[in-house]
Symmetry: C2
DNA sequence: ATCCGCGATGAGAATAAGTCTCATTTGCAG
DNA sequence: CTGCAAATGAGACTTATTCTCATCGCGGAT
């Protein structure tokens, strides 16, 4: 599944132009780590202007192609996302980010909303810890 | 319960000095909104140096007197906190932040950890929506 | 295929946000 | 009281992000 193609289609469907810089940035992001900062993208795509990187990052968030990951120190990174609502597991050892979803969590949050009288329309959940791979590694 | 006093005691217990700037910053934070940015504190306590504000903000996070709130646009604000682990409800209309805890959530997350093989040692959950107060208000 | 309008872009300046240095001050243990 | 390591402040510095505006080029209309 050529992710780029899917994304390009999403762009087009949103009524956004499919420009060379946007294509270049998409490609750059796919070559980057599983999460990256705005600066990483600026560096990885030197032919694209600084302002355009920030503009494009925001645009891609709006159309749901890129999402934010809040790291455990409170800094925010970006990440290509295949789509819908999800949460993140961030490995505190190797730094890898994994997506996950859970009906149970959504259910509990819904109950919480009902109970407290809030009308929740979005939420954000990040978990920090060691991934199975790192746990299996010989201790430091 | 004079929060300031409690906090000062916490500071002392941690082996940190109770200096005039720290006292001033605590007071400033209490006068601020229910959440505030570093810059807000800098402005609210002009007699305290910029660097000290950032240093103190970090210190207070370390000793658990201040916590971070991730707003829905991904920016991070700070907030005085009475203590332990909790999550946030952020009203998208009035901006107010409320703390909450839920055993159910912790349970579900623990199950998730067990199931996925992750060793979770921290997490962060923020919910965004309208608070009961704002919902009761006449529609715009 | 060609044209044209407006959305998109780039360069670089401007602003915002956070960190660092280091000489000086000051809690507070003894 | 005294000594000293922790804490501070001023302000330069670095890093992050936004803004401006002249120019460009995508893609719908023809």
């Amino acid at each position: 599944m050529p992710a780029t193609e899917i994304i390009e289609r999403t762009l087009a469907r949103g009524g956004y132009r499919l420009t060379a810089p946007r294509r270049a940035l998409l490609e750059a992001m796919q070559d980057l780590d599983d999460h990256f900062t705005a600066e990483d993208v600026v560096t990885a795509a030197p032919e694209v202007g600084r302002a355009t990187v920030f503009r494009t990052l925001r645009l891609m968030q709006d159309i749901g192609v890129v999402c934010q990951v809040v790291l455990d120190d409170g800094s925010v990174a970006y990440r290509l996302t295949s789509g819908g609502h999800h949460h993140h597991m961030v490995c505190s050892q190797c730094g890898a980010v994994a997506d996950f979803t859970s009906h149970d969590i959504e259910d509990v949050l819904q109950q919480l909303a009902d109970r407290t009288g809030y009308e929740i329309d979005a939420h954000r959940l990040e978990m920090y810890g060691r991934c199975p791979r790192c746990r299996a590694l010989p201790d430091e």
